[in-house]
Every structure is written in structure tokens, then in C-alpha cells.
């Protein structure tokens, strides 16, 4: 049941336990219990909303930063990753394979704000060897959803055999 619930809420976090239960042919109480258990275990970590900020008249700048770091003995990358992700400006942090170690995604109000964060907070950390900052110019698709265009019209004929 877990996997089935997750498939539904992954696409629509607004789906109510009652709806989910109907869709899966389960009891509402069981679905509620399962969701609560998954929240407790950290399988479900939150219910954010996917927003196209460009359309919302809010200035938001996103930057993707490639960071090279020195891993620490006994702690590997986890300690330094934690020091980075605790900043509110940081949206996501991933450990990467390949040419650099961490991808850090920053959200700020302006390029200046993001640049300041990188130059003053991030690159000054002892373990950080180098950074390369890439600003996002336009978002086309996020979390499997195309951001442009809005809801597509149903172009099918109203009645077909």
C-alpha cells in the first residue's frame, strides 16, 4: 500500500486520505495510519507546492553551485554537507559523482544576494576548495511538471463511441 500511496501523493500532495482510499480500494483509516507512519519515519518529508515564481511577480533567483570540498576523516562529506545545508538560503544539497563533490542549489532575492552568500559564506569555509556558480535563467520543467502553458485544454470531442 505504501508504494501506491506514494505514487499518488508524489503527483498530488493535496489528495485527501479519503480519495486515496477510494482510488486504492482501501479503508480511509488504514491510509491515514500509513501516511502518519511514513511522516514519522521520514519517508514523507513535507508537502511543498510547486510554484512558477516567474509568473508570481516575485523576484527569485536560483543558482546551482558546483562545490569541491575536502572530505573529513571519519565523517566523509556528511559533516561539510550539513554545515552547508543548514543555511536558509540553501534549497538543496546533493553529493555528486564526477568532477566535483556537492551540488548546492541556492535561492535568493537577487544575484547580488546569491553572490554574497557564495563569496562570504560558502567559499570561506575551510573544507571548501572551490566553487563554480551557475545562475538559472529559466525553468522549463520541475518535478515532472512543465511550468509553461498552464492546464491543457481537453481537445477531444465531447462524445465518442
Amino acid at each position: 500500500m505504501r508504494k501506491k500511496i506514494l505514487k499518488i501523493v508524489d503527483k498530488n500532495s493535496k489528495a485527501s486520505p479519503e480519495e486515496i482510499a477510494a482510488m486504492l480500494g482501501e479503508r480511509k483509516e488504514d491510509v491515514e495510519a500509513e501516511i502518519a507512519a511514513m511522516e514519522k519515519e521520514g519517508v514523507i518529508c513535507g508537502y511543498p507546492t510547486l510554484i512558477n515564481w516567474d509568473k508570481a511577480d516575485c523576484e527569485i533567483v536560483t543558482a546551482l553551485i558546483e562545490v569541491k570540498v575536502t572530505p573529513q576523516r571519519g565523517l566523509g562529506f556528511d559533516k561539510i554537507a550539513e554545515r552547508i545545508y543548514k543555511f536558509d538560503e540553501v534549497d538543496s544539497v546533493y553529493l555528486m559523482s564526477g568532477g566535483f563533490d556537492l551540488t548546492v542549489i541556492i535561492r535568493g532575492k537577487s544575484m547580488k544576494e546569491v553572490s554574497l552568500f557564495v563569496s562570504e559564506k560558502l567559499s570561506t569555509m575551510e573544507a571548501v576548495l572551490s566553487t563554480a556558480t551557475h545562475f538559472v535563467l529559466k525553468k522549463y520543467k520541475e518535478h515532472g511538471i512543465a511550468l509553461e502553458g498552464g492546464k491543457k485544454e481537453d481537445e477531444r470531442m465531447l462524445i465518442t463511441p
Binding site: K7, M23, L24, G25, D154, R156, L158, I159, T160, P161
Partner: protein, 387 residues
């Protein structure tokens, strides 16, 4: 002036759906649960392959029976999914949707006066196609208490010396009924003993929600007397590409191909290239869509039952077929008044045969959000007319 029309075409009644379509089209901002096609777009990798074939200038006819690689992929697919085994060279042909295959199968096998058994409620084209070849269509009225399956006794009751073909439309449009292994097995010895041929329309085969679809052609002794019809419209959301296929013994397929060759030439080339991609790399898409339909199916059945409409559980296609008998209205009246009063379009069961009276076809080829809006209106309507 002489009558320009043939007697036979004048006897063919216009589609009941068409009549209703005209009314619905007049209605502004009606919401519809009346379509018989997926709401998904064709998966992008399939569309992309179609586009690529155009870029490559593959804009010529293919051979009459279809692209070699497509016919091969069809045989691999049928073996992998339904344990059917066909020779891609002699026993497969690609058609313009399943519809063409139904038409030419009948044309290839019927002499005037032969009887064609048509279980109903069912898709609208079997009966007229039979009429057009001067066959005698014999409807079999399926019953809700049998989950709209065809039973052995119902079959035995209608067979005469003139019976030649049985059409098997499962998973069924409009009821959503399916025939599982045991249901089919009960018919097999009757079919063989009475020396009938079967046209098995399995266009909804991938949309089966309890176990895997079973084809009648997979039973011993049935392959040589069955034409299996399938296609890409429902399973891969490719209705507009107009692509289906027929498989069967060479003896029959050869003659079907003759009709196809003269009347059609070949199925659209772009669609055929796209279909190769669908069969090679589309299993995950089918699975994804089936899961989504299944969620909607459960949601819709539960909601309709909560509203108080009786509804047997359909395990196939993307339709539910609730009964409205307790409301004291005919199917036509219900559908018309629901449209006028609440602006929701559903299809009266009678559009699929007389025995569809007392039922509605509701499609769940819609998002849960759309279904919810429509269900609220249906609930209001039913409550109002309960008294």
C-alpha cells in the same frame, strides 16, 4: 430521378451516439464523461519517433500488410503478453484502427444470409458492418447479473445452422466487463463443435485490472478459427494515429489483405513507425496508464455507489456502466435531463444495443479532478430525482 441509395445502407440506423453528440455539441460549457478515448497524450518518445520518420522523409506507402518490422514487433508483443503465436509474414496485417479490421474480417468471411452473433451492449460498429455485408446480425443480450459476460447457455441458445461468426468484444466497451480464462473456456467446445469462427476484438486488452487479459485464440483448436483484432489506440493513447492490426490464419488473412489492398492500400506510414517504437519501448507507459485508470476506476465506482447508483464492478476498459433503473427514467431521458439540468454528458446505455436500457456509460478517461466535479453534479441530480 432514381433513388441514388442502396437498400442496405438505408436500413443501417445512424449511430445513437451521433444523435447525442449533436445535442451535447450545442451545449456551451457542458462537461463530458462521454468519450471513448484516453485523456493521455501519446507518450513523447512515440510521438518523437513519428516526427523523426517525417524528418527522414519516410512519407511513402508501405507494403499493403504494413512495415515488416512493425509486423514482427506485433508478433513478439502478442507472444510476450498473451501467449499468441503468429507468423509475421502471413498471419499479421496492419489496419486503419481496429475498426477497419472489424469491417474487413466480416467482409472476408460472410456470405449473404450468414448469421453473426453480436453480444450486446457492445461497440457500435459490429452490427452495421454485418448488415453491410448482408449478414443477419443476431444480438445476444448480456446480463448484468453475469457481469455482462457471455455465458455458454446464452451462446447455445442462439446458434442455428446459419450461424457462422461470433464476435467477442472483451474487455467490453461500454460495460467494462471482461472474460477471464474460465469464462472463455466454457465457450470453446461449443464454438468448435458448432464450427463457428470468432472475431475477437481485444482493443482494450491492456486495460484489464484483474489478472492479465486472456485471448480466446490461445486455447487449443481456436487459433485456426479466430481473427484477433487489436491496436494502439487504447493501450498507447494513439487514437488519432488510426492504427490497429489483425492476426489470424493465413487462409482468412490473405483475403482480408485483398480487401485492404484495394480499399485502403496501407495504414499511415508515420503512424507505423511510431507504433514500432511503442511496441519496443512502451511497456512502462502502458503500465503507468493502466495504474492511473485503475485508481480512477475504484474512485468512480465508490463515488457512484455512495451516490446510490448501483454499479457492478467492471474489470476492463475505462468505463463503468451504472444502473439507473431505480430512478424511473429511461437511459435516454436520464442522459438528456442530466445534460440539460446539470450540464454533464454521459452516454445512454441504449446507444450500445437495446439491452443497454436502464444503464449509462460513464468514462473514466478523465482526471480525478474532472471526475470529482462531474460526480458532484450527478449526485445533485440523482438526489433531486430520487423522490
Amino acid at each position: 430521378m432514381r433513388d441514388p441509395l442502396s437498400k442496405v445502407i438505408k436500413e443501417v440506423e445512424p449511430s445513437g451516439i451521433r444523435k447525442f453528440f449533436d445535442i451535447v455539441s450545442e451545449m456551451k460549457d457542458a462537461i463530458s464523461l462521454g468519450v471513448g478515448e484516453p485523456d493521455f497524450d501519446t507518450p513523447w518518445h512515440i510521438r518523437e519517433e513519428g516526427i523523426y520518420s517525417l524528418e527522414q522523409g519516410r512519407t511513402f506507402y508501405t507494403s499493403n500488410a504494413g512495415l515488416k518490422e512493425l509486423k514482427e514487433e506485433i508478433t513478439y508483443y502478442l507472444r510476450r503478453r498473451f501467449h499468441l503465436s503468429y507468423d509475421p509474414v502471413k498471419e499479421v496485417m496492419v489496419t486503419i484502427g481496429g475498426s477497419e479490421a472489424i469491417d474487413i474480417a466480416l467482409r472476408a468471411m460472410i456470405d449473404p444470409g450468414d448469421e453473426v452473433l453480436i453480444p450486446q451492449p457492445s461497440y457500435v460498429s459490429y452490427l452495421p458492418c454485418a448488415q453491410l455485408v448482408h449478414a443477419v446480425p443476431v444480438p445476444i443480450e448480456l446480463k448484468e447479473e453475469n457481469q455482462f459476460k457471455l455465458t455458454r447457455q446464452e451462446l447455445l441458445d442462439v446458434i442455428t445452422e446459419k450461424t457462422k461468426i461470433l464476435i467477442l468484444p472483451f474487455p467490453n466497451n461500454p460495460t467494462g466487463g471482461i472474460m477471464d480464462y474460465h469464462d472463455l473456456k466454457a465457450l470453446v467446445d461449443v464454438i468448435i463443435e458448432k464450427d463457428l469462427y470468432v472475431i475477437s476484438d481485444e482493443i482494450y486488452s491492456e486495460l484489464t485490472y484483474s489478472g492479465t487479459h486472456v485471448s480466446i485464440a490461445s486455447f487449443p483448436g481456436m487459433r485456426e478459427r479466430t481473427v484477433v483484432i487489436n491496436g494502439f489506440s487504447k493501450s498507447y493513447a494513439m487514437t488519432g494515429w488510426r492504427l490497429g492490426y489483425a492476426c489470424g490464419p493465413e487462409l482468412i488473412l490473405k483475403q482480408m489483405l485483398k480487401i485492404h489492398q484495394f480499399a485502403i492500400m496501407c495504414a499511415p506510414t508515420t503512424s507505423q513507425y511510431a507504433a514500432v517504437e511503442a511496441l519496443r519501448n512502451g511497456d512502462a507507459d502502458v503500465e503507468m496508464m493502466r495504474e492511473e485508470y485503475d485508481r480512477r476506476r475504484r474512485f468512480l465506482i465508490k463515488s457512484l455507489r455512495d451516490i446510490g447508483l448501483e454499479c457492478f464492478e467492471p474489470f476492463g476498459a475505462f468505463y463503468v456502466f451504472p444502473s439507473i433503473k431505480t430512478l424511473g427514467m429511461s437511459s435516454d431521458e436520464f442522459a438528456n435531463r442530466l445534460l440539460q439540468e446539470e450540464k454533464v454528458a454521459v452516454v445512454p446505455g441504449t446507444a450500445f444495443g437495446r439491452c443497454g436500457e436502464g444503464f449509462l456509460r460513464i468514462s473514466y478517461a478523465y482526471s480525478i479532478e474532472d471526475l470529482k466535479v462531474a460526480l458532484e453534479r450527478i449526485e445533485r441530480f440523482v438526489k433531486r430525482h430520487r423522490e
